[in-house]
């Protein structure tokens, strides 16, 4: 059985299973179900932030911190699929080359394949395979996000939002949504002008946010460099993640339940969408309904309801 090999840590079998999950092969879902009892030991960390904030470089640096502590690290990096060609260029590995021959590191790139929110539909599944394989830390890197891509929060135990100095007075790019999911805020490229200002702005914005108080979100400055220049603050980022983990310890059950709820809801939505697609295909697609709407014979709501009724 392939899952036995996966549990033994066989890289090729695990990689093929991830591929099948990403391609949504039905039998792979069955295998994932069998793996599920073996998950729950890896600590999942989400890294998100603006395009160009240095997410991949920070991930590379964090891998080094964890490897120095003899922890095994799995990484899932997500890049966008082109809505025009359906293809994608997955380039996050470029920044993680110093770990390329380390058997304690498994890096997997995924394309969004049309999913919104900064992750692919398969991201959680791929992370679960890494978890079942016994990786101690699992880092999920989202696509470069704008202002409300917050899916990573539902997948990760600790969400790290990375930004850089100089993005504007109010740190335009991390408005409400993205700021609210942060458990740890990182100002990367802190040797640039305006780093202290960025930290101050983040403090003020956290002050304004409701719910979780400012004292519960650490703001960390760092300089991640791929090891080509001296780094700074990376250990502080890792420490902030650990202390968030410690603080969450008391409410771990509640967090797990929230995550499970979000995950189930996501799966239900996905499965319903699949069924709707299949039904539409069986009925010959949307052309007939669309013609009716264009000719004014039917409104789009009635058309949609007629599809729903036949599910």
């Amino acid at each position: 059985m392939r899952i036995d090999k996966v549990l033994e840590g066989d890289i090729r079998s695990a990689a093929r299973l991830m591929r099948d999950l990403d391609d949504r092969v039905p039998s792979a879902i069955e295998e994932l179900k069998a793996l599920y009892p073996h998950t729950g030991n890896g600590y999942i960390i989400g890294i998100t932030g603006n395009p160009g904030a240095g997410k991949s470089t920070l991930v590379d640096s964090l891998i080094s911190v964890y490897r120095n502590a003899s922890l095994r690290v799995g990484v899932v990096c997500v890049d966008p699929t082109s809505p025009f060609s359906g293809g994608a260029i997955l380039g996050d590995r470029i920044r993680m080359q110093r770990h390329a021959s380390d058997s304690g590191v498994f890096i997997r790139s995924l394309a969004t394949r049309g999913q919104l929110g900064g992750l692919s539909r398969s991201t959680f599944d791929v992370a679960s395979v890494l978890d079942a394989m016994g990786f101690d830390r699992i880092i999920i890197e989202t696509v470069g996000v704008g202002q409300d891509e917050i899916e990573v929060m539902k997948t990760a135990y600790t969400s790290v939002v990375v930004t850089v100095p100089g993005l504007g007075d109010d740190i335009q790019a991390i408005k409400a949504g993205i700021l609210e999911i942060a458990d740890v805020l990182v100002v990367n490229k802190a040797d640039r002008e305006g780093a202290d200002r960025a930290v101050r702005d983040l403090f003020h914005m956290l002050d304004l946010r409701g719910g979780v108080g400012r004292q519960e979100v650490e703001i960390v400055k760092c300089i991640a460099t791929l090891g080509t220049r001296e780094e700074s603050g990376i250990a502080d980022v890792a420490k902030a993640i650990d202390s968030h983990r410690g603080r969450m310890g008391q409410q771990e059950d509640a967090r797990r339940k929230e995550r499970a709820k979000a995950h189930i809801a996501e799966l239900v939505r996905g499965m319903l969408a699949d069924r709707a697609d299949a039904t539409l295909r069986a009925q010959g697609g949307l052309d007939g309904l669309a013609d009716g709407v264009v000719r004014g014979e039917q409104d789009p709501y009635t058309a949609a309801e007629s599809v729903l009724k036949s599910l």
Binding site: G86, G87, I89, S109
Partner: protein, 136 residues
């Protein structure tokens, strides 16, 4: 549950000491435009690094760009490294400044296709679509 949606995954890699990767990036872009998922790993890759990435990413094919003249060493080394990691079914193709007699020898030794300078990006994308099948 739902329809399987297989997509070709290709690793584009630049082994050896070439100083720039413009050609490799153009090819990566062309393959993505042809609808494939392309993992790109950057400059200065060793054959072992390429094979490891190919296995972890579960790709169907590896495309190598070699301009340094070391193609007769690097292509066989990558094929060997893939074999060592149990990934001998991964298709290896490539391009670069490679003399005709070397092309013949490489094709006889496990390389599926060599694109010469002047090959169009559409040609490369189409070749992958036609010749790289998605593994089951």
């Amino acid at each position: 549950m739902s329809d399987t949606q297989r997509k070709r995954r290709i690793l584009v890699a630049k082994p050896g000491l070439d100083g720039h990767d413009r050609g490799a990036k153009v090819v990566a872009r062309a393959l993505a435009d042809a609808g494939h998922e392309v993992v790109y790993t950057g400059l200065h890759q060793t054959p072992t690094m390429i094979a490891t990435a190919a296995v972890q990413e579960a790709v169907d094919a590896v495309g190598l760009s070699i301009m340094s003249g070391a193609h007769m060493t690097l292509f066989p080394a990558v094929i060997e490294a893939l074999k060592k990691q149990g990934a001998e079914d991964v298709v290896v193709f490539g391009g670069g400044i490679i003399p005709d007699e070397d092309v013949v020898e490489l094709l006889a030794n496990g390389v599926a296709k060599i694109f010469k300078p002047g090959a169009s990006t559409q040609e490369i994308g189409q070749w992958v679509t036609d010749n790289v099948s998605v593994q089951d």
